[in-house]
């Protein structure tokens, strides 16, 4: 144990001194802070006064424009002829003008004249035009006057007020979209922290094999002590990283909540933060152990790195499948991903985001993850010792099986 801790301390020290580790640890909260500050600054700059009015022209040859001349911050000015409208456009009195031809009601065709040079027409202008035409066409009394309320409903058919009930029929709180975004970010960070630490572990073992210091280490330590020390030390480094990120995230949220109303609803409950840390520890322990095995059996760090995607892919599947998981958190697919050890750390984060996970599911997935980690450690212990001193040659699957059976 004493030697394990010494290895752990050294690994932590070396990792903490690495520039890349320091940069990533500090850069991520810094980026978050900059994003929030940027958002606040943007709001302060743009949200101060009334939105600026733009004026556009139209030439109505179909006689459909009878009512509203204003849509949002766009004013529609009538012109008698195309020539007059064009004069105003060239004089920069209007931004653009539309010619509504006499067969408009049949074809829906409107000609737009603009001096914009961009590839795509302005999106906000287009939607203002739509609203403007809709309001006027509906009130064209030539057919039959449509009541104002019906006009409103055609323009905006529904505002959904979603009420969620639990099993007892009690009302549940509405979904927390800010919280969702937060967990989304947290699961990315979880993946990053796990693979930074586990990848360093793999790299380190490869280096120790390549530069032949392994044999010196093994004359002082057992392979088990070496492996445990490395997993512990690098895990501690990863944990420091994730704790810094979570605490910084808390701080940034608190800052943002005071300034930006959109952030005010987001909160990170302490229990959830602890779960994040727990799943980092469990997930890292499993991936770290697996990576240690890979490091032991592959002759060089480079060859070991080539095997990393095998482990990365299952870890990020839940991330890409998050829409499917969120839409049916208690479905079979979600449950499989929740319980399968390689996918469970990120899946649980994603399901926490959707507030759709039961306590027993968390307990079961944590248990499965723990048991698989212990199993992986047992396997690693056997493989690790047998192959650490095998330089330049990768053992066959049969040889590994041999080592596992302790022969």
């Amino acid at each position: 144990m004493r030697k394990t801790l010494k290895v752990a301390r050294e690994e932590l020290r070396v990792m903490a001194r690495q520039l890349s580790f320091r940069i990533i640890t500090v850069l991520i909260p810094l980026l978050g802070l900059l994003a929030v500050l940027g958002f606040i600054a943007f709001q302060a700059l743009t949200g101060g006064g009334e939105p600026e009015m733009t004026e556009v022209g139209y030439v109505d040859m179909a006689g459909v424009i009878t009512g509203s001349q204003q849509q949002g911050n766009v004013s529609f000015l009538p012109f008698e002829s195309d020539g007059e409208a064009r004069k105003a456009l060239l004089a920069d009195d209007i931004e653009r003008y539309y010619v509504i031809p006499s067969d408009y009601l049949e074809t829906g065709q409107v000609d737009e004249y603009t001096m914009e040079k961009g590839l795509f027409p302005s999106e906000s202008g287009r939607s203002a035009l739509n609203e403007f035409m809709l309001a006027n066409v509906l009130s064209v009394s030539a057919l039959e006057p449509v009541p104002e309320q019906v006009v409103q409903r055609i323009r905006q058919p529904v505002f959904v007020n979603s009420v969620r009930l639990d099993e007892r029929g009690e009302q549940r709180p509405p979904p927390d979209y800010g919280g969702y975004a937060f967990f989304f970010v947290l699961s990315i960070l979880l993946i990053m922290a796990i693979f930074t630490s586990a990848g360093t572990l793999l790299q380190g073992i490869g280096e120790e094999k390549e530069n032949r210091i392994m044999e010196v280490l093994l004359s002082s330590l057992t392979p088990g002590q070496l492996m445990a020390g490395k997993i512990l030390g690098l895990g501690a480094a990863g944990l420091v990283q994730i704790v810094i990120w979570v605490v910084a995230g808390w701080g940034i949220l608190a800052l943002a909540a005071g300034q930006v109303p959109a952030f005010a609803g987001i909160s990170l409950p302490g229990a959830t933060a602890l779960l994040g840390v727990l799943y980092f520890v469990l997930g890292y322990a499993l991936f770290g152990t697996l990576f240690a095995c890979v490091g032991a059996v592959t002759p060089t760090a480079r060859e070991g790195n080539q095997l990393v995607p095998i482990f990365v892919i299952p870890c990020i599947i839940p991330f890409y499948a998050s829409v499917a998981i969120q839409s049916n958190p208690a479905g079979l697919f979600s449950r499989i991903l929740t319980f399968f050890p390689l996918t469970s750390p990120v899946t649980v984060m994603v399901r926490l985001a959707a507030s759709g996970i039961e306590a027993w599911e968390i307990a079961t997935s944590a248990l499965i993850l723990t048991v698989s980690t212990l199993l992986a450690m047992w396997v690693a212990g056997r493989i690790f010792g047998a192959y650490l001193l095998m330089y330049g040659k990768r053992p066959s699957v049969r040889e590994i099986w041999h080592a596992l059976r302790g022969a």
Binding site: R2, K3, V14, N211, V216, S220
Partner: protein
């Protein structure tokens, strides 16, 4: 040299790798304060034997005792090992590496610092303490590894080809450190192909060939065993009818006298002196260890 207590006892140790006997019933021991030379052709099983001794690999059968009992974690702290395939963390600094490796042997950082400072000075590398390992030359790196091997003041030091790649000045520095430690009672196992180094440093020699011990004895005794019962004499003349002398050959500055069976070298010297021959030098002719090595190995092929 007390030479009374066994530091290492290897008893009928065997190890097989995928059906091939790498080590086959090897037994030998190393006494306190002794320097044992472990020699043998490439692939004879020396490194495997050493690794079993250190508990890096487990023997299939047989027993290894270090400091009187099966290898314990504490015993490992008193062993220094310089493997043949060796290296250091290339990106780390010399000083950090030394202190770390010493800490794995249970040495506190204060003691490690004191000793590291003294040892670096002894091998002339005190100015490199803050260099990164990758900035060092190969020979310097090797000296640093030697320092790391003995930094924790081990009672047993196992050196596998410690002089390979070192210039004569550095070889001398390493030998000085070895001799200091040996005088304080540390035992050494020296595995090397450089027979002249074994002759110079070792008290005893164990030769392994194809996984078996084929020779084990005190250096002089082994040489005598392989000697041809001859003497080298520098003198003005050699009488032709000297009793007990089978044949006589002039080898430039001296004569080689081949003795008949049962004749002791001292008797011939006495006969020479009695005949009034003026003798400048006289020595029992012994084969070099290299000759013994070649003879043993070729005899088994």
């Amino acid at each position: 040299m007390s030479g009374t207590r066994s530091v290492v006892e290897v008893e009928r140790v065997s190890k097989e790798f995928s059906g091939l006997k790498a080590v086959d019933g090897v037994s030998f021991n190393v006494q306190e304060g002794e320097v044992l030379g472990l020699v043998g052709p490439n692939g004879a099983g020396k490194t495997t034997t050493i690794r079993m001794l250190l508990g890096i690999i487990r023997p299939d059968s047989g027993e290894v005792r270090v400091f009187g009992s099966p290898l314990t974690e504490k015993a490992k702290d008193s062993i220094g090992y310089l493997p043949e395939e060796r290296g250091l963390y290339r990106g780390r600094r010399v000083w950090e590496t030394l202190i770390y490796l010493a800490s794995l042997k249970g040495v506190d950082s204060q003691t490690a610092s004191d000793r590291a400072g003294r040892l670096l000075e002894a091998v002339g590398l005190e100015s490199s303490r803050n260099s990164r390992v990758k900035e060092l030359s190969r020979g310097m790196g090797q000296l640093i590894q030697f320092v790391a091997t003995v930094l924790h003041d081990p009672r047993l030091v196992i050196l596998d080809e410690p002089f390979a790649g070192l210039d004569p000045v550095n070889v001398r520095l390493v030998k000085q450190v070895i001799s200091e430690l040996q005088q304080r009672g540390s035992a050494f196992m020296l595995s090397t192909h450089q027979m002249n180094q074994v002759e110079e440093l070792c008290h005893r020699v164990v030769m392994i060939d194809r996984g078996e011990v084929v020779l084990d004895g005190r250096l002089l005794e082994v040489k005598h065993r392989f000697g041809d019962n001859a003497i080298h004499v520098s003198c003005d003349r050699v009488p032709a009818d000297l009793p007990g002398v089978r044949s006589l050959r002039n080898e430039g500055d001296h004569w080689e006298l081949s003795l008949a069976e049962g004749v002791k070298p001292g008797e011939v010297l006495q006969a020479l002196l009695e005949r009034g021959v003026s003798v400048d030098s006289y020595e029992v002719a012994l084969p070099s260890l290299e000759e013994v090595f070649v003879r043993v190995v070729e005899g088994r092929r």
